[in-house]
């Protein structure tokens, strides 16, 4: 019996393949965008976890010497005293596209069951001299003169090696740290008796990176959710119509003795079948989307946070299953209303597809009320603040309020515009358009959200680009940047450059903890070029003069915002001294806090600071570069032209936002599809409205043209309403989300030319979406129109 009922119900879909395709496509797209984003997030998180695990030995504490490396003798002394420790040498080696972290470990003392334990290296025959890297890192190290052992379990951007190998490569300077093994003997002499200079450092977890990148993933998730919601609009439309059109079938089935419960269960089975097919399709699509976007996401995370993410996808069964689950959940959500109606339907309810499309005035009022509630929530979130979560609540409520208020706003606008129309056709056009609003409102809401997201994100990216390029121009003051091998080479270089350049500016730096978070400390030379070029957001009037005399410090915007610092505040510096904050400068793209102190102060306070980097001012940077390579013998890889640096920075920037751009376009296409399916759905139901007009002497061609114009008018009005919403969104992104997530605030710039393009794009999309149903109408046989008057429906 169930089989017979299912056949009767399913025959509907096979007689309407287009409707079935709509349903499956909408569901598949929704699933695809959602699971694609999830795949990207999972991949990135896995990479952070591996990196943190390898660098810290899996959540164990370390012994470190704050003043420098730990000599071999100290290690021996500790082992003899009973301390179970394992030495690690930590450094960098040059690689294609930058550098790779080299971790020299001692497999025999390293803790087991971690990324660097002896059990980890079993079966690796060549371990004696090799670097163990994952396939992607191996490709970046093809130039190295070392044998490589490829092991895909090694974290990206990391090379593992035996201590002896690391010592050969990095030089014998001692150990970077000693890992404290988990099972220490109960009785052992205290640390300050054996090696008082050492300190215990708690395990560094993936937390820092996770905290930094959380906002980015939240962003992606929000986009995924938005696309999913847009896709569900399509599903809701298709399912709702199919339910309405099958009312006579339901009625007959009920008359034949099928209980409403059984009917609902069978309908759910049917939907589940669709969810399975569409979910599988969506997962495949999602995989394609994720693998297409992952390289850009990896570039973003590298560029913005310095996090390394592998460019290839590996997916778990959990991901596949969750994709199917979300497809089923989405179908359930979209079909809930229809199922409830079927369950409650009296056995002899008449079909009324038109009533389905018409939502009462009450609904609009109800939506408006909800919109007000969301707007209030947004205002409250703005007033209270509350970090990133507050920012996203603000963002979400703003979008929801706008979407829910759309039908009422459009209705009002149409009312206003209709005053300008003249003649019977115009009157009918405006009245009919307003009546059609409820049926189209879900699709139009989807369009509004997609457009607002486009405008908002577009404005943010363009504002960022504007600010960033201007800032780069100013900030990269030197014409040439070089890195030397050691101090001997540094002094040789300074001698070599004395006569050939306008100035050699040391860019020396060290790292340390400032107010409990890792920060960079830079020294600047006393040179007028800084005062001329460094954009300061705030500062004492004589800031550069005071820096020149060796006083005070500058902090970057991130640090200033996080710690609420301003000119005049005092800042505790690592090493136990205080500096007065003299100014704040913008430092886009840097995840870390930064403090700039006079060069002499850096050298005096931190004798171990990195002294290898120099900026050079020269009239002919190209010529100087050649001279440095040919006469001084500096390897090409250690010289960077300012122009090249700028190009690379801009490239990183562009790739950073390529993902957002791609998701933007995808969301907009889904919205276009939603309009198309809604129009096609409605066009089938609209015959009773159009037939009388046609019978009174308006040709099908005219009617088709009017239908097309209607789609365009609705899209245009929606675009107009999306503009303020998008700008509000941009403001929230720039002034709230960015500040919370990255620590910098960007000035908002307006780009009307981008809007014009977007407006054109949305009109084109709506036009294309309207063309098909319009053509259908123009070619509809008159007999079908005539039938409206003579058949009981």
């Amino acid at each position: 019996m169930t089989g017979a009922i299912l056949t009767a119900l399913m025959s509907h879909w096979f007689r309407r393949p287009f409707q079935m395709a709509t349903l499956i496509l909408g569901l598949a797209l929704a699933t695809a965008l959602w699971s694609g984003v999830q795949a990207i997030n999972a991949e990135a998180r896995k990479s952070y976890g591996e990196a943190a695990d390898a660098l810290t030995g899996g959540g164990l504490s370390d012994l470190v010497d704050p003043s420098g490396p730990i000599p071999h003798e100290t290690f021996i002394r500790l082992r003899r005293a009973g301390w179970l420790v394992s030495p690690v040498i930590d450094g960098w080696i040059a690689a294609d596209r930058g550098r790779v972290r080299l971790l020299g470990v001692d497999p025999f003392t390293a803790p087991r069951n971690t990324a660097i334990g002896a059990d980890r290296f079993e079966g690796e025959t060549d371990i004696g001299t090799a670097l163990i890297v994952n396939p992607a890192t191996a490709r970046r190290l093809t130039g190295a003169d070392r044998p490589l052992v490829v092991d895909s379990a090694v974290a990206p951007g990391l090379a593992l090696a035996d201590l002896t190998v690391a010592r050969e490569i990095l030089g014998d300077t001692g150990y970077s740290r000693l890992i404290l093994l988990p099972d220490q003997p109960l009785v052992r002499p205290p640390l300050n008796e054996i090696a008082p200079e050492l300190a215990i450092e708690a395990p560094e977890t993936a937390g820092d990176l996770a905290r930094l990148t959380d906002s980015f993933h939240l962003n992606l998730t929000a986009f995924g959710l938005l696309s999913f919601a847009v896709g569900l609009f399509i599903v809701n439309g298709a399912v709702g119509l199919a339910f309405e059109q099958r009312r006579p079938v339901f009625r007959t089935l009920r008359a034949l003795g099928v209980t409403s419960r059984r009917l609902v269960v069978i309908l759910m089975l049917e939907l589940l079948a669709f969810a399975a097919v569409a979910g599988a399709l969506g997962i495949v699509l999602g995989y394609l989307i994720a693998s297409a976007l992952l390289p850009d996401v990896a570039a973003t995370l590298r560029g913005l946070y310095g996090a390394t993410v592998e460019g290839a996808l590996t997916l778990s069964p959990a991901w596949w299953l969750s994709g199917l689950a979300i497809a089923a959940a989405g179908t359930g959500l979209a079909a809930l209303g229809g199922l409830v109606q079927v369950a409650r339907m009296p056995p002899l309810a008449p079909a009324r597809p038109r009533a389905w499309a018409m939502v009462s005035r009450g609904t609009m009022r109800w939506q408006l009320g909800l919109a007000c509630a969301f707007a209030l929530t947004a205002l409250m979130a703005l007033g209270i603040g509350g970090g990133l979560t507050g920012g996203f609540i603000l963002l979400g409520s703003l979008l929801m309020a706008a979407a829910l208020a759309l039908p009422a706003a459009l209705s009002g606008l149409l009312h206003l515009v209709s005053r300008f129309g003249q003649g019977p056709i115009a009157d009918w056009f405006w009245a009919d358009t307003r009546q059609q609003l409820p049926g189209l409102s879900l699709a139009l809401m989807a369009l509004l959200l997609a457009l607002a997201a486009n405008i908002g994100v577009g404005t943010m990216v363009a504002s960022f680009r504007d600010t960033f390029t201007g800032w780069l121009d100013q900030r990269l003051v030197s014409d040439l940047y070089v890195t030397t091998e050691d101090e001997a080479e540094s002094s040789l270089l300074q001698g070599f450059l004395a006569s050939r350049s306008d100035a050699v500016l040391p860019i020396w730096h060290t790292e340390g903890e400032v107010r409990g978070a890792p920060a960079e400390i830079y020294g600047v030379a006393d040179h007028p070029v800084y005062a001329e070029n460094w954009p300061l957001l705030a500062g004492t009037p004589d800031v550069w003069a005071r820096i020149a005399t060796g006083e005070g410090a500058l902090v970057n915007e991130q640090l200033a915002r996080r710690e609420n610092l301003g000119p005049g505040d005092r800042l505790d510096m690592p090493g136990g001294w205080q500096a007065e904050v003299l100014g704040v400068y913008s430092d886009y793209g840097n995840p870390l806090g930064q403090v700039v102190v006079p060069l002499e102060v850096l050298v005096a306070r931190y004798p171990n600071a990195d002294r290898d980097d120099f900026g050079i001012l020269a009239a002919d940077p190209e010529g100087l570069r050649t001279a440095l390579i040919e006469e001084f013998g500096l390897p090409e890889s250690r010289i960077t032209l300012q122009t090249a640096l700028k190009a690379v920075s801009l490239q990183v920037f562009e790739r950073t936002f390529a993902v957002t751009g791609a998701l933007n376009i995808l969301t907009l296409s889904v919205a276009g599809l939603a309009i198309l399916t809604s129009l096609l759905t409605l066009s089938a139901m609209r015959l009773p409205q159009l037939a009388p007009v046609w019978a009174l002497g308006v040709t099908r061609r005219q009617l088709a043209r009017i239908e097309l114009i209607r789609a365009l008018v609705l899209a245009a009005l929606t675009f107009l309403l999306a503009l303020p919403v998008g700008l509000g969104l941009a403001w929230v992104l720039l002034a709230v989300i960015n500040v919370e997530a990255f620590g910098w605030r960007l000035p908002m710039s307006i780009f009307p030319r981008d809007w014009a393009w977007l407006g054109f794009a949305s009109l084109t999309a709506a036009g294309l979406a309207g063309l098909w149903p319009a053509r259908q109408l123009a070619n509809r046989p008159p007999a079908e129109l005539v039938r409206v008057f003579s058949h009981e429906r």
Binding site: P424, A695, Q702, P782, V788, F789
Partner: protein, 217 residues
């Protein structure tokens, strides 16, 4: 001659016998003709062809001397706008317009609004209290009265009605029919009305009976 139909033929694919098999008839201005026939005899089909809503397979239809078959889609649409008023059995009205807008709609399409006195028309139809309502808020009889008002408002020369009272109870149907008849007489239009009711047909000037694809007088 207002309407002249000669040897009209119509054949629907899939049916053995033609629906219309050489139908000829005519209608003078000011004349009221009732068309009767069994269900499925082709009355609606004949009306649709005369109104240019459906093409014929053979024969000719001339309205005020103009041959329908010689017109294109736009020409037939113009003819419907300006010269013909038509009332169907049901679903005549435009759901998104109010009663007042529906009443004036065809007159405005035909650009014949001069002399149109909407309050008077509404009063004559008994619709004065319903002008601001939408069609779905009216009863079936009220809806048909609006359809009649809309059809006569531009003063077309040819009025046609396809069982305009078919969905109404007898007394309401009689009232609607009388209204249509009265309006036709007042404006001097020719009226072709399809009906099943003997009583209504008897009130016409002339009766035509459609049977087996032919007119039997």
């Amino acid at each position: 001659m207002l309407l002249c139909v000669e040897t009209l033929e119509k054949h629907f694919p899939g049916t053995a016998a033609p629906v219309l098999d050489g139908v000829s008839m005519s209608l003078e201005a000011g004349e009221v003709v009732a068309l009767t026939g069994e269900s499925g005899s082709g009355k609606s089909t004949l009306l649709h062809i005369v109104a240019g809503l459906e093409p014929a397979d053979g024969g000719s239809v001339r309205i005020e001397g103009a041959e329908l078959a010689g017109m294109d889609d736009a020409g037939r649409a113009r003819l419907r706008r300006t010269s013909i008023g038509i009332v169907f059995q049901q679903f005549n009205l435009i759901p998104s317009l109010t009663v007042a807008q529906n009443l004036a709609f065809q007159a405005r399409l035909a650009e014949r609004t001069e002399g149109l006195d909407l309050p008077r028309l509404a009063a004559a139809l008994g619709l004065t209290d319903h002008l601001a309502k939408y069609p779905e808020e009216l009863s079936g009889g009220q809806q048909q009265r609006v359809a009649i008002g809309r059809a006569i408002a531009p003063r077309p020369r040819l009025l046609m009605a396809d069982e305009p009272t078919g969905n109404l109870d007898e007394s309401t149907g009689k009232a609607v029919f009388d209204l249509l008849l009265g309006q036709a007489r007042e404006t001097g239009a020719g009226l072709l009305i399809v009906t099943h009711s003997e009583r209504l047909a008897a009130a016409a000037d002339r009766r035509l009976h459609l049977s087996r694809g032919k007119i039997a007088t």
